[in-house]
C-alpha cells in the first residue's frame, strides 16, 4: 500500500482485459466488491427467509427487521402508493449499506466512494422518478415547480429556483454519498499514515483518533445509506403525491 491516501480508491483490472466493441468492461476490484456485496445480501436474506418459524432465529430476525425498517421508512415518507417500489428501494438501501460497510474492512475497496457509481444510481433514480411523475400526472407534474401560495411577483424567480433544485437532485444525491465515503476513508488513511510516521513515541494520539474515526465512519456508512434511501423515498413521494 502506498502512502498516498488516495491510492485506496484506485481501480485496477483483475484478470484479462475484456472489451465489448469500444467499451472496456474488464473485471476490476470495484466489480469484485459489487459482487461480494450483492452475494452477501442475497445470502443473508435467502437464509433469513428460508425457514418460517414463529420464533425467528437470529438471521431471520435480521432479515425481517430490515424488511420492516425499510417498509416503515417508505410508508412514512412516500405513503402507501410507493408499495410497488419497495423492492427497488430495499435493494438500493441494502446495496449502498453493504458497499459502505465492506469499505470499512481494512484493505478493501469502497464501491460507493466512486462518483461514477453513485451518479449512475442517482441518475437512474432521477430519471425513474421523473418518468413516474409524468406517467401519473401528465403535464400536471410540472406544477411541482410552481409552489402554491407564492406571490405572483416572485413566481418567475421561484420557478427558476425550483427547476434548478430539481435538476440538481441527482448531483446532490450522488455527490453526498461519494464525498462522505471518500472524505472519511481519506481521513482514516491520513491518520493511519500519522501513526506510522510518528512511530512508537508519538503515534498513540493519531491511533486513538483512528479508532474513534472508525466508529464514526461505521455510523456514517449506515447513515449515508439511510439518507440515500430516504431521499429516494422523498423524491418518489413528490412524483406519486403531487403536494404543491
Amino acid at each position: 500500500m502506498a502512502a498516498n491516501p488516495m491510492s485506496q480508491f484506485d481501480v485496477y483490472r483483475i484478470g484479462p482485459e475484456i472489451k465489448v466493441g469500444a467499451f472496456d468492461i474488464s473485471f476490476t476490484n470495484a466489480s469484485l466488491f459489487m459482487i461480494l456485496s450483492t452475494v452477501s445480501i442475497l445470502l443473508i436474506f435467502n437464509l433469513g427467509s428460508k425457514k418460517n418459524s414463529i420464533l425467528p432465529n437470529k438471521i431471520q430476525l435480521l432479515a425481517e427487521l430490515s424488511y420492516t425498517f425499510v417498509s416503515k421508512m417508505i410508508s412514512d415518507t412516500a405513503g402507501s402508493k410507493a408499495k410497488p417500489y419497495f423492492a427497488f428501494i430495499f435493494s438500493l438501501f441494502m446495496f449502498v449499506l453493504f458497499c459502505n460497510m465492506f469499505g470499512m474492512i481494512p484493505y478493501t475497496f469502497t464501491v460507493t466512494s466512486h462518483i461514477i457509481v453513485t451518479f449512475v444510481l442517482a441518475a437512474f433514480i432521477f430519471i425513474g422518478v421523473t418518468v413516474i411523475g409524468f406517467i401519473r400526472h401528465g403535464f400536471g407534474y410540472l406544477k411541482l415547480f410552481v409552489p402554491s401560495g407564492v406571490p405572483a411577483v416572485l413566481l418567475p424567480l421561484i420557478v427558476v429556483i425550483e427547476i434548478i433544485s430539481y435538476l440538481s437532485r441527482p448531483i446532490s444525491l450522488s455527490v453526498r454519498l461519494f464525498a462522505n465515503m471518500m472524505a472519511g476513508h481519506t481521513m482514516m488513511k491520513v491518520f493511519g499514515g500519522f501513526v506510522i510516521s510518528l512511530g512508537i513515541v508519538g503515534g498513540w494520539l493519531p491511533l486513538s483518533f483512528s479508532v474513534a474515526l472508525t466508529g464514526l465512519e461505521i455510523l456514517v456508512a449506515f447513515l449515508q445509506a439511510y439518507v440515500f434511501a430516504i431521499l429516494t423515498c422523498i423524491y418518489l413521494n413528490d412524483a406519486l403525491n403531487l403536494h404543491h
Partner: protein
Amino acid sequence: MVKKIYFQSIFFSFFFIKEAFAAESGGMPQLNPEFWISQIFWLILTFGIMYLVLSKLILPKISNNLESRKSQILENIEAAEKQRKDSDAKLKEYDEIISKSKLEAKTIFNQAREKALKDIDAKREVLDKQIDNEIAEAEKEIDSLRKNAPDKINKIAIETSSGLLHKLIGAEVNNSSISAIVEDLSKRNGDKYYGN
C-alpha cells in the same frame, strides 16, 4: 515540555507527509474515466441481478413469513379471548351453583330448625301436662293430709292430755270434756299453726 515536543512532532510529520503526497501525482482516481464504463456495466449487472432475485424470490417470502406470523398471532389471540370468555361463563355458572346451593342449605337448615323447635314444643307441652297432673295429684294428697291432720293432732292432744292428767293427778277425766277444750283451743289457735 513533553507535550510541546509531542505536538511539534505531529505538526512536522504532517508537514512531511504533505510533502510526500505532493511528490506522488495522480489526484482523485474517481475522476479517471479509464474504468467508468466497466464500473457502470458491473454496477448494472450486479444491482440488476440482486434486484431481480430480491424482488421475485426473497422479499415475497419474507413478507409472506411476516404476514403468516401476524395472522397466526391474531388467531392465537382470538382463541385466547374465546377461552377467556368460556372460562368467565363457567365461573359465573359455578358462582350461581354455589349461591343456589347456599340458599338451599339455608332453607334446609331453617326447616330442620323449625321442625326441631316444633318437636321440642310438643314434647314440652306433653311434659308440662304430665308435670301439672302430678303436681295437682300431689297437691290433692297434701290437701287431704292437711285436712286430716287437725283431727289426728286433736286426738293425740286429747289422749296425751288425759294420760298426763291421769299420771299427775291420778284422776280419770272424761275424754269428752278434754276433747271439748282441745277443739276449742285448736279452733282459736289453728290459724297460727297451719297458716291457711
